[in-house]
């Protein structure tokens, strides 16, 4: 079996350069590639276009890249938890493309699946639809949306094997599986890396063909945005 293992984030991110388009998995702070983000901070690469459902919070996740002004453009669906983001956006320092969440997920899926465009009803008649081709199917109007692809995709999984197969846990799955398919180079960081053969092939969420580099991440903080509990 082809071995996709690299030692650490530093090796995994070799080749990341200024001006690249990156995908980063996660929903809120759930399922984000924490180790890869730390390495992006260390590298200090700039003028990045980041495709991610959210932009982290002020002091965690992609918010850290925004603080260092490494991001030129964000492509996201919801950025409401990040005050620094809103400040950079309203002051014109940052470009943003806000995309309906389902459209974002499908554009990434399409990118990985080799489908350059598709039609969706989301955003028809709104400013999201301005300038886009529209078409009627069975009496309903749809917008044409195009694929998204990235120079590097950074995904986070629960378990992975040396062949690059991935299993996610809970709602940390979110955008990670589609992003894994849409990167020219996909870097997977996992909580537990095992030899090929130890994961049940029936249980694999992302097959290893989509993953070019895999490593076991360190020191996961897994910060919770809204800790809501009930009394037992």
């Amino acid at each position: 079996m082809i071995n996709k293992t690299v030692e650490n984030a530093r090796q995994a991110l070799q080749g990341v350069q200024d001006g690249m388009t990156l995908m980063l998995g996660g929903f809120g702070l759930c399922g984000i590639p924490e180790n890869s983000i730390q390495e992006l901070l260390r590298l200090g690469v700039k003028n990045l276009t980041c495709i991610s459902n959210n932009a982290g919070v002020d002091d965690f996740g992609i918010g850290l890249l925004l603080q260092q002004h490494q991001v030129k453009k964000m492509i996201s669906s919801y950025v409401g938890e990040n005050a620094e983001f809103e400040r950079q956006l309203l002051s014109g320092e940052l470009e943003v493309d806000l995309i309906p969440q389902g459209t974002l997920a499908e554009r990434i899926r399409a990118g990985g699946a080799g489908i350059p465009a598709f039609f969706t009803p989301a955003g028809f008649g709104t400013e999201v639809g301005e300038g886009k081709e529209t078409r009627e199917f069975d009496g309903k109007m749809y917008l044409m949306e195009s694929w998204l692809r990235a120079d590097f995709s950074f995904v986070k999984a629960w378990k992975g094997d040396t062949a690059g197969n991935l299993i996610y846990k809970g709602t940390a799955r979110n955008f990670n599986p589609m992003m894994a398919t849409a990167g020219k180079i996909t870097v997977a960081e996992v909580e537990e890396l095992v030899p090929a053969g130890e994961l049940d092939p029936n249980m694999i969420h992302t097959p290893g063909i989509f993953v070019q580099r895999i490593f076991e991440g360190k020191n996961y903080e897994k910060r919770i945005e809204q800790r809501t509990v009930r009394t037992a």
Partner: protein, 218 residues
């Protein structure tokens, strides 16, 4: 006078029927889960990738990998399923979700909804709202009838950037239950202590009143 947010949630809960798959938005819609009628089976869909959303966890059950679309920690239930975001929106766009309940800043008498952007002020993004309103078979809006300055949020035309066109079916506010029909907002019920005149005064869009308007029972 009128319903508080729990009252609005209680009234909306009566619209939820046995066997429905339901997506609840953030805010008042989330409260609807607390008031679902006894004895019915309803599956809550969370757009970040969970069907069968359970209650908040106990302190011991808290898992950073288990959150809802509002980023709150949650639990699963027997029969829950977890999936990726593309599959989640296949459920939504593909009209497999029976009912969508969400908040709004404005609704027009044609059923247009605005709830994602205030130009120059609030730029948070639409999240899943545009996908939901474009495809939901049934959309109920939970909102205050008027803004803080007293201006109506039920309008002839939305003034804010819209989220979707011609999609809202029913609206439950602190003052009334209304249905979007050809020609305007049809008044179905009024909140306890609220008169038809009060509702007329608080509604900028065309209000259609037919016969006696019963009081909301919650």
């Amino acid at each position: 006078m009128g319903l508080d947010k729990h009252g609005i949630a209680k009234r909306i809960a009566k619209e939820v029927k046995n066997g429905m798959y339901v997506n609840l938005g953030i805010g008042i819609p989330t409260l609807v889960a607390n008031y679902l009628p006894e004895g019915i089976e309803v599956v809550l869909q969370s757009e970040n990738g969970l069907l069968g959303m359970g209650p908040f966890p106990t302190e011991e059950q808290v898992d950073a990998d288990m959150i809802n679309a509002g980023k709150q920690t949650i639990t699963t239930l027997p029969g829950s399923a977890i999936f990726n975001s593309a599959e989640s929106f296949a459920m939504i766009r593909g009209e497999h979700v029976d009912l969508t309940i969400l908040g709004a800043m404005e609704v027009s008498e044609k059923g247009d909804i605005a709830n994602w952007k205030i130009p120059g002020k609030m730029v948070k993004g639409m999240g899943g709202a545009m996908d939901l309103v474009a495809s939901a078979k049934n959309i109920i809006v939970a909102m205050q009838h008027t803004a803080r300055d007293g201006s109506s949020k039920l309008l002839k035309e939305c003034t804010l950037p819209i989220t979707g066109v011609d999609c809202v079916k029913k609206i439950v506010t602190d003052l009334a239950v209304l249905e979007v029909v050809d020609g305007g907002f049809k008044l179905l019920e009024r909140a306890p202590g609220v008169s038809v005149e009060d509702i007329k005064a608080a509604t900028a869009g065309n209000l259609i009143i037919e016969g006696d308007v019963p009081e909301i029972q919650v």
